[in-house]
């Protein structure tokens, strides 16, 4: 229980509305995994590091991480290898464009929720253009005329509203995340406009191909990192934290110092 309390006190004001759901899920998981021992308070540097890493569920996370590793080795990696070796690069690019285009309505929704008119306009333009003259998205025509795509998810939207990430979690199958982004993923799945227009089988297929394609792009890099790292789990955690920070920062950089007008309202509500 102690570490459950720690997780919530550590996550700040951010995740109030998620608490009941998450608490139930965590209680079950904690019974299986246990939590990390925080350093003693007389070592301030160690405490600072512990807080920065923000991984109170480390023992459990490690178990899930290795479960994902086994799954990856048995299934995803072989599929990705076959995909890379068997499908010619131009076709892979087209498939990627098609799948990205399917994700644009969700990005548009999040652009709007972030009250980012410029980006919303860009996404709308890209979607209309690529879905029509881009032949259902198989050709990224918009990028060629100077409107490259971007990706926004609900985790990023929550961040733009001022919610902190909460502790690091490794999700089964989906991989590294944090409490805020994991909640965001659930919302993304529930509200994805593409989801209402397509069958479950189609969505499942699209999700699988998308995962295989992404995995195929980093085959050699991941193999090397696995091989060379002393602690693959810790390296992956660090990479994830930095990468996600960059995604959030990118979002801010393209439209500098423009926190969402909703931020104060949302914070107030949660309190």
């Amino acid at each position: 229980m102690r570490c459950l309390l720690m997780i919530f006190s550590g996550s700040g004001s951010g995740l109030g509305f998620l608490r009941p759901v998450v608490a139930v899920a965590l209680l079950g998981l904690l019974a299986a995994g246990g939590c990390a021992t925080p350093p003693s308070a007389d070592d301030p540097e160690a405490v600072q590091h512990f807080e920065e890493i923000n991984d109170p569920l480390e023992p459990l996370n490690r178990q899930v991480f290795w479960f994902n590793e086994v799954l990856d080795n048995l299934l995803l990696r072989p599929l990705a290898f076959a995909y890379r070796e068997g499908v010619p690069p131009p076709l892979r690019t087209s498939v990627r464009s098609f799948l990205d285009n399917l994700k644009s309505p969700l990005t548009l929704l999040n652009d709007v929720l972030q009250l980012n008119a410029d980006r919303a306009g860009e996404t709308l333009l890209r979607f209309s253009m690529n879905s029509t003259i881009g032949f259902f998205g198989f050709a990224d025509v918009a990028a060629e005329i100077g409107y490259p795509g971007h990706h926004e998810d609900f985790g990023q939207t929550l961040a733009s509203w001022g919610l902190e990430s909460g502790p690091y979690v490794v999700l089964p199958v989906l991989g590294p995340s944090n409490l805020r982004d994991a909640g965001g993923q659930v919302v993304d799945i529930l509200v994805d406009p593409t989801g209402f227009e397509t069958t479950e089988l189609f969505r499942l297929g699209a999700g699988l191909v998308s995962a295989v394609d992404r995995r195929a792009q980093y085959l050699d890099e991941l193999d090397d990192l696995r091989e060379s790292s002393l602690d693959f789990y810790a390296a992956a955690r660090s990479l994830h934290r930095q990468h996600r920070a960059r995604q959030l920062e990118n979002h801010e950089r393209s439209h500098p110092v423009k926190p969402s007008p909703l931020a104060p309202v949302v914070k107030e509500r949660i309190r």
């Binding site: 980093y218 990192l225 990479l239």
Partner: protein
């Protein structure tokens, strides 16, 4: 695995970063990075070199262009102060071998990538960030930032490589801290792990 793809990819493309060259370059930090890329291409892109030779060349570039002692101190973080002089010396030497082993392989097909310096800015006295982009034929370009420190005599040394927002030295620092923590805070535990990994 989705988050991993980009980040890890970055980490390994960092290999590019580690491709250092022989001569200390005079002039600006931007020129230094340009020269590094050109030298790396010549030294590492050569066809028909065997693995040992390739690794030797890579290590030479690494030690000449990177400030290994300074990076070592950073990645050890707070444990640097706790380490004895002997431990520090051994760490610097093992860290160099470790990075060579981890990255040398990545540069075997360096000829298929092209580095373009975009711009640079001073971040502290004597320290500049050089922003660059690596272009590939088959995959989207990657943004790589180089933290370059200029010495009193005008030479330059790299102290960090940041690939798509992922800093090499921070990643190493976090990983090594985890290893040390698992050996109950003993630096000797990290040294043992490094020795094992580098085959020492």
């Amino acid at each position: 695995m989705s988050f991993l793809r980009t980040t890890v990819f970055c980490a390994l493309v960092a290999a590019y970063s580690l491709s250092a060259a022989a001569a200390g370059a005079p002039g600006s930090a931007e020129d230094f990075i340009r020269d590094l890329a050109a030298t790396a291409l010549v030294k590492l892109g050569e066809k028909g070199t065997d693995a040992d030779d390739h690794n030797r060349r890579f290590q030479r570039l690494l030690t000449n262009r990177f400030d290994i002692p300074r990076i070592s101190k950073f990645v050890m973080g707070r444990y640097w102060r706790r380490a004895t002089d002997d431990e520090r010396r051994e760490f610097v030497s093992l860290f160099e071998k470790f990075t060579t082993k981890a990255y040398a392989n990545r540069f075997r097909d360096i000829g298929r990538a092209k580095l373009n310096v975009l711009r640079s800015r001073e971040v502290a006295s004597g320290q500049e960030v050089v922003h660059s982009q690596i272009d590939f034929d088959e995959r989207p370009p990657i943004k790589v930032d180089w933290l370059v420190r200029s010495g009193p005599s005008g030479g330059h040394k790299i102290t960090d490589v940041v690939i798509e927002g992922v800093s090499m030295r921070i990643t190493f620092r976090d990983e090594f801290a985890s290893v040390i923590r698992q050996s109950r805070g003993r630096v000797a535990g990290l040294l043992a792990a490094l020795r094992k990994k580098t085959g020492d």
